[in-house]
């Protein structure tokens, strides 16, 4: 890159067959990825999935074992970190403790011999609303403020590619929301390419144009947030990105439009174009908020005709109220546990533990997985392990798969 000038616009990033092995394990397995210039791309995955390693490879802080890294059409695989037109917002901020906030922000500009570095640093600090603290040391700032300084320090360089390593992890919810919007604004305003690494699926969905879900060093699925959410291809994606009810059963009927699957003595129909596997044992799923809770048995005949699936009767075994919605866990004999998210249209839960209920959903909302039943069980287990805090829910999803 020519000294003293900014990148005109964002550059695209291409990873070709990237593999990274550390002594004892493989962090990334033959990864291919193309990120178009000017996009906001999120790498989403649990800790240890290789997403941070991918970022460090792009930044030049690690060397790939195999493969090429191309930024803006230029192969940078063999170049050093300081020679790449890339800046990183580190998870730990890594603000230099011996310099003022202003000098921190001006650091990259000075190294590249950009004119009037201090003016530009002030400008970047104004963008993150911290110009009044320019003379302070990073140690005197709060976590959220340090976060914003780290962002300003990277953005001020107008890198062709900005790498964000879980940059909002340390912030409280309110500030995180605000920073998410600010980041998005900066990205659109400046037109840079953002590569954002996160384990927070909500953050990824809010901010990114494209999400790649990573698991065990490989990309499981890539696409727009809505696409990934509404049509997950694997059990891992189905349960890492939100939650899903998954059912495994034999295909008993197939037409060009619809696939019928027998699950625990009950029949479920999903649209054929939403099901990549159409024979043998398949895993199908539906999102919990798509389910409708019924307190009386629907008329079987009219159900199929109106294009809905029904499961039941089952018993409510858990009700948990979370303000906007209530989560019901229903045990359906022969099928397993089914989770339903219901909006709180009335005050409080509509049924209580022990009640006999049926669930139904529109056939259009079902999806089939590419996973074989074994892969689906493993993927659901991984997602459950990754979810951590949501352990209960994910475990019940796992039981559903096995049932």
């Amino acid at each position: 890159m020519a000294a003293g000038t900014f990148a005109e616009k964002g550059a695209d990033l291409e990873l070709v067959g990237i593999t990274k092995t550390f002594p004892g394990f493989t962090a990334i397995r033959s990864l291919d990825l193309f990120i178009p210039a000017g996009s906001f791309f999120a790498l989403l995955g649990p800790s240890g999935c290789g997403k941070t390693t991918t970022l460090r490879l792009v930044a030049g802080l690690e060397e790939p074992t195999a493969g090429r890294i191309v930024i803006g059409g230029r192969d940078v695989t063999s170049t050093k970190s300081f020679q790449r037109p890339v800046n990183t917002v580190f998870q730990s901020y890594a603000l230099f403790p011996h310099m003022s906030v202003l000098e921190n922000v001006a650091f990259g500009l000075r190294r590249r011999g950009i004119a009037a570095p201090l003016d530009k640093a002030h400008e970047a600090l104004r963008l993150v609303e911290l110009d009044h603290l320019a003379a302070r040391r990073p140690g005197q700032l709060s976590g959220g403020q340090q976060q914003r300084v780290a962002l300003a320090r990277a953005v001020v360089n107008r890198p062709a590619l900005l790498l964000l390593d879980e940059p909002l992890g340390a912030l409280d919810l309110k500030l995180r929301r605000q920073m998410q919007l600010e980041l998005k604004d900066i990205q659109t305003e400046v037109g840079l390419t953002f590569l954002h690494v996160t384990h927070d699926q909500e953050e990824a969905m809010t901010m990114a144009d494209t999400i790649a879900v990573m698991n065990k060093g490989e990309i499981e699925q890539m696409g727009a947030p809505e696409e990934l959410y509404e049509l997950p291809r694997t059990a891992f994606v189905a349960n890492f990105l939100g939650q899903s009810n998954l059912f495994t059963g034999e295909v008993v009927g197939s037409t060009p439009d619809a696939l019928t699957v027998a699950v625990g003595g009950q029949r479920l129909v999903i649209p054929s174009q939403r099901a990549p596997r159409r024979t043998g044992t398949v895993t199908v799923g539906v999102r919990p908020e798509k389910l409708l809770l019924l307190t009386s048995e629907p008329d079987a005949g009219s159900v199929t005709a109106s294009g809905t699936n029904t499961l039941g009767p089952g018993r409510v075994i858990d009700v948990s109220f979370s303000g906007v919605s209530t989560q019901y866990t229903i045990s359906v004999p022969g099928v397993g546990d089914v989770i339903v998210f219901a909006q709180n249209m009335v005050f409080g839960p509509v049924v209580h533990v022990g009640a006999e209920v049926w669930v139904s959903w529109n056939v259009e909302h079902g999806f089939g997985l590419e996973d074989s039943p074994e892969e689906a069980a493993a993927g659901a287990a991984e997602a459950a392990a990754a979810a951590g805090a949501d352990g209960d829910v994910a475990t019940s999803a796992l039981t559903t798969v096995r049932g």
Binding site: A59, G60, L61, K80, S81, F82, V86, N87, T88, F90, S92, A94, L95, F96, P97, H98, F107, G108, R111, R112, R137, G139, R153, N157
Partner: protein, 279 residues
């Protein structure tokens, strides 16, 4: 109240000998008395006389100490960086290398210096070898030269330089270095603008721990060890006045001058280095 034992300790073991030293430095000889017999007095001339007489030794002491400190820093910094940063992932290697740095302490300081005297003596392997290779004049010596004295000082104080540097570098977050590289700083620039400033507390304590004792050292420069009359430092003058010629007032005055000069130098140095700014 809790400070009381500490204050008493200081009064007893630091302030008392210091006061005694100050009194001694003003004493005058007893007229018609024995050698080494002095009485209380207020003889200012002790200071002016001793400084006039020993000025070259005072200057030499600070010159040698400065050179030894710089050399020790140049040797110790890469060493401490290697142990503290490069082999951070290998605790076993780290402990082994640290043990090697400390290992010389298991042998007496005097014995080690004498060993060097043997190695560098005119009949020793170094001189003989160099002469055999015609890299050294036939009438050349190593012992007794400023080179040998500065070498001895550097060698003897290297652990005092390495350990504080190691302590700082070992705790230094390498992510600062990564951030520097990420922000277009070449490895050298990163070292200059990030690593060195962040390790400043170690540099300051290491240089002080080397410079202060080196300036007052009288072993390395002594003719019995690596030095000769031409390499005498102020410490040698103090030693011979106290123990050989029994000129206690001059020795005491020289000690106080040495202490005062060190205090002034250290005071300026610490202020310049500005360690209080570092978090």
């Amino acid at each position: 109240m809790l400070l009381l034992p500490g204050i008493l300790y200081l009064l007893l073991f630091f302030i008392t000998p210091l006061i005694s030293l100050v009194f001694t430095s003003f004493q005058q000889p007893v007229i018609n008395g024995d050698i080494g017999q002095y009485s209380a007095g207020f003889q200012w001339q002790n200071y002016t006389d001793s400084v006039m007489q020993y000025l070259p030794l005072i200057l030499r002491a600070f010159g040698y100490a400065l050179l030894a400190t710089v050399l020790a820093l140049v040797v110790s910094y890469p060493l401490a960086y290697f142990i503290g940063v490069k082999v951070r992932g290998y605790p076993l290697v780290q402990s082994l290398l640290l043990t090697l740095v400390i290992a010389p302490f298991f042998i007496s300081f005097l014995l080690r210096t004498l060993a060097w005297k043997q190695i560098m003596s005119d009949e020793g392997p170094l001189v003989v070898g160099l002469k055999a290779l015609s890299l050294f004049p036939n009438d050349g010596h190593i012992t007794g030269t400023p080179f040998a004295v500065i070498f001895g000082l550097t060698y003897n104080f290297i652990p005092f330089m390495t350990l504080p540097l190691y302590a700082v570098l070992e705790r230094m977050d390498v992510r600062y270095i990564e951030a520097g590289n990420d922000l277009y700083a070449s490895p050298f620039t990163t070292f200059r603008t990030i690593t060195v400033p962040l390790s400043m507390p170690g540099i300051v304590s290491g240089t002080l721990l080397t410079f202060i004792p080196a300036a007052g050292d009288y072993i390395n420069a002594s003719g019995d060890f690596l030095g000769s009359a031409q390499t005498s430092m102020v410490g040698n003058a103090i030693e011979s006045n106290f123990l050989v010629t029994q000129n206690y007032p001059v020795a005491a005055a020289l000690s106080i001058v040495l202490m005062a000069v060190i205090l002034i130098i250290v005071g300026f140095y610490v202020r310049r280095a500005g360690t209080e700014d570092l978090v």
